[in-house]
Amino acid sequence: MACDTVDTFPQLLLRHAKERGGRPAIREKRRGIWHTLTWRDLADEAEALACALSARGVQRGARVAVLGDNRPRLYTAICAAHWLGAIVVPLYQDAAAAELTLPLQSAEVTHVFAENQEQVDKLLEILPLCPSVRCIVYDKDRGMRHYQQPQLVSYAAFLAQGHALKGSRSDVLRAEAGRAAGQDAAFLFFTSGTTGEAKGVVATHAALIDRARVAAEIDGLTDVDVTIAYLPPGWIGQNVCGYVQPMVVGHCVCCPESSETLIADMREIGPTCFLATPRVLEALLTQVSMRLDDAGDFNRALYRRSIAVAQRVGARILARGAVSMLDRLAYLAYDLLIYGPLRDVLGLSKVRVAYAAGDALAPDLLMFFRSLGINLKQLYGSTETGFFVAMPRDGRVKPDTVGQAAEGVELKFTAEREILVRSPGLFAAYHRDAERTAEAKSADGWFNTGDIGYVDEDGHLRIVDRAVHVGALSDGTPYAPKVLENKLKFVPYIKEAVAFGHGRDMVCMLIDIDAAAVSRWADKRGITYTGHADLASRDEVYELIAGCIATVNRELALDPVLARCQLRRFSILHKELSADDGLLTRTGKLRRGAIAERYGELVDAMYAGHSDSAGVDGSPRRKIRDAQTVAPAGSRRAA
């Protein structure tokens, strides 16, 4: 297609407004009703907003931040900023004020679009530290009536101002949209930083558009597809799914009413393309198991049987593989009775393709969704690599791989098996950090991902873990924490697991229980507790978790390599790991360094063989328990 040469967002927006002006671009559920913004509406509003922004001094290359939940106005603001050639800095809406200081300072952001009073309050708190911020546009005016700061302006007033200016500036703006070039920076993402301070990653228009185009081609996305925007807008994944992909394909993005109504809203809107992080999928599975616990015996038995069939043949049916007629009939029957309704309850009945990204997904979890007939795929990519590096193709999905390299991507491996990527989607540079850019990206365009992996016999890329996390036990057994943790996280009662083992004589775990699932389990057994900390220290709960770990150990024992990585000891944390404590990133990845530091004493006590540890800051003692292990079954199963 000739239009494939268009490689900037403003030009794509104008093209959609012309070619499919009447089709929905963004839908939003507000006050109980879905409202639609067509491509023409979106372009009009973005143009007015761009007028107002340029009147307030936004020029090519200026930095404009967006801070808030997924709302149409957030995306309109991004469109407007790109229209003027400004660079958008998406921020995490649940970040604390102090966390926002670094991005605002280092990017020298001048204009911020903030969703509501909560976000404005955070910005005002750090305003003295960020002198570059000149203008804050807020969307929701609730509670904002008595704010007098000269920097503040409401979105409605700002938009009205833009509409008034539009007549006189229309030509200038059209010219501005035409001046954009693919190599211009479009976004400045501040990466979640599992290891250190957040880095600013500069992504260009062309890089993001190229990757999205390749991905859309692979999965055949068209402008009738529908996707739902619910992940943090500070993350590249949400921007790709909610902005880049629709801009490339011309499909519609839906914004749910609130995070609590997400599932109900999904059932109403029926997304066909769905992006999730492993954490979201784990939460969905936990919800299914919890609701099933409340079902009657007959229903439970039926569900168990149906899942057994699904796990045996579901994935093969989805991949259009060979399945016996009997199995096919059984699957069809259960599809009517169980899988179909279950997909509907999860709001996934119309999904053609679902992606898991952001972190490694447990193969069991992937297969669970696939066996229900949901075409879930694990993606591989990062902020630096334009999100799409490798993705499984329909009909050729292998659960423990991330599929083949996407078109345009070249892969190379170092002697230590670190993955190097060269792709048109690579980031331009780290923001104002030539040194780190040079470290990560070679002169001839190879990027060091920091991930360990290899390509298997079918040409599928397998990711082992982050290079810094891969190690060996003291006896030389190779050890990668992610695999072990993911096996445990598949258990509904376990929300998060942190493995330790590098350079040690055995593997120990810190466990974070899933409060909702475990408290329901406790309720049913009449176990009384006062709160999360109390529940997490009950002996019954330790027994429950020990049982889960023993099951996992039995599985591990079947694998000759992993058998020696069985979990020996564990302790349950009294407090959930959270991003507010700096122990997780905003997308929910573990920050191992911070966790090891915070719980150092407990970890040492586990290895020293103690049965409990005095907590930090005078918190109660944490118990430590041994887990049952199984002798390796090397002889039972050929390696």
Binding site: G32, E125, R142, R145, H146, E257, S258, E260
Partner: protein
Amino acid sequence: MIAPVQTPRRAFAIGAPILQLDSISLRFGGVQALTNVSFNVLEHEVRAIIGPNGAGKSSMLNVINGVYVPQEGAISFGGEQLKGMTPTRAAHLGIARTFQNIALFRGMSVLDNIMAGRTLRSRASFLEVALQLPRARREETENREAAEEIIEFLEIEHIRKTPVARLPYGLQKRVELGRALAAEPKVLLLDEPMAGMNIEEKQDMCRFILDVNDHYGTTVVLIEHDMGVVMDLSDRVVVLDYGKKIGDGTPDEVRSNQRVIDAYLGVAH
């Protein structure tokens, strides 16, 4: 140039007295529930009535909204003397309330409960509604919009269609507040809005009460046991003990009032 961060000011400045209670006395047979109690409520303020158990707080609220008719004393609302107040009249005047023990339609959804609070605002006749004539349909739309605004305001979108009986206590309290708000009241009477809640629910409720006062300018009269909550929330506090007013003023004044301290902590006789 950076402007100094200012502390948020009130959107609605506190105005003239909207509600005036003069020498109210209320008896049930031989029991003297209220004795010669006088105080006023200023427009746009948050006014608390506190006191130990049996001090006459709920009776006071019931007098204001016409459930009880006091034997002596006078009530004026918006400068007008009111004789023979009834709950219906109070509602028409713009006084809405919530109850100590939740009084919602338990089988109905949250949305329907809040819509029920709009009944007074409807002008369409029974026949018009039954036949779905234009005016009834228009009003239905308006009422739904108003109800949805409140649902958004109170952040209960996710339970819009849930029957009230299935909700936890804290949320039911919030729905009850929503129903009271649906009448677009000038004065909101809250009878122990935070009773039986945990800390988190209390904090939420406090925020909503302050937001209602700030956003809609609604005057709030509330009864509360939790002293901490009262002191943070209210502009002025009335203290009752055995049906008599023993203190009246800002939270700080009331806190340092010896009679109030005695009533709460007891004194050696």
